[in-house]
Amino acid sequence: MRKLVLTVDDSAAIREMLSYVLKSAGHKVIEAEDGMDGLQKALSKQVDLVITDQSMPKMDGITLVKALRALPQYKKVPILLLTTESSDSMKDEGRTAGATGWLVKPFDPTKLIEVVDKVTGGR
């Protein structure tokens, strides 16, 4: 099923790759270039899924998760972290903040689509 996904990453190339992968699976994509941008875009349009990097300028991924979870309309929306960080302590923080899942880059495109389907209850 077709979902609206917000991708947040400060690397234009990563955003483009994510777009390509998600679009080729039939989803629609909105892009943001840092936590702040992501938050504002999420506020102005309700999305079905957020995929965000961790280390970004202006506001990092985990803070974004917290900010989103503070909003009623985003309490239940799946939020995935897609980042190079793989330490357990960071993952714990992510979980505590309310993230739905934690994916470590480099990502396998096929696997990503599977996870997207799973957390959005699609397919």
Binding site: S11, I14, Y20, V21, S86, M90, L103, K105, V115, K118
Partner: protein, 174 residues
């Protein structure tokens, strides 16, 4: 012109101050560790780059070959191209790793520089008594600044970027 034998030595600047000696010792130890870490990160970066570059080129050569045969079987080739490019896109993500490694290193090196600058200023302050600074207040000020810088340096953690050992491609659903 005779050249004196003065071995190059960091404590040459102002001897006789135990305080300074301890501080310098601490700085030296931190410098040591951090420089080694930085060197390791840079070596890692080089390896990453070399490896990724090779893989990249392989993937794109393969894509090229696939394209060349496009005349014959269109669908087949297009699929093969797609697969190769997807594979390539995965390899391309190395740049993120590289960037983060470089950023960490840059910060590490910045802090190293700060320590060395502050040390120099501290030494200079200790060498120039100032009439307008009662009780050597200016030296205390420099010491504080120097310690701050050393503390910042010591708090440089491990690189958070490790491609090989753990987690690349892993998925945790909470």
């Amino acid at each position: 012109m005779t050249r004196q034998r003065t071995p190059v030595d960091v404590s040459a600047a102002s001897a006789g101050s135990q305080d300074l000696g301890r501080l310098v010792g601490r700085a030296g130890a931190a410098l040591n560790v951090q420089c080694r870490a930085a060197h390791q990160e840079l070596t890692q970066t080089q390896l990453l780059l070399a490896d990724a570059t090779r893989k990249l080129l392989d993937s794109f050569h393969a894509a090229n070959h696939a394209l060349a045969s496009l005349g014959a079987q269109v669908d087949d080739a297009a699929t093969r191209v797609g697969q190769n490019l997807l594979a390539a896109s995965q390899h391309m993500q190395f740049s993120d790793l590289v960037r983060q490694l470089l950023a960490t290193t840059e910060q590490r090196v910045d802090r190293l520089l700060l320590v060395s600058q502050r040390l120099q200023e501290l030494i200079r302050a200790m060498d120039t008594p100032r009439a307008d600074a009662p009780g050597n207040a200016h030296v205390t000020e420099e010491k504080r600044a120097f310690l701050e810088a050393v503390a910042a340096l010591e708090s440089c953690g491990d690189s958070r970027v490790r491609q090989r050992d753990t987690g690349a491609g892993s998925v945790d659903l909470f």
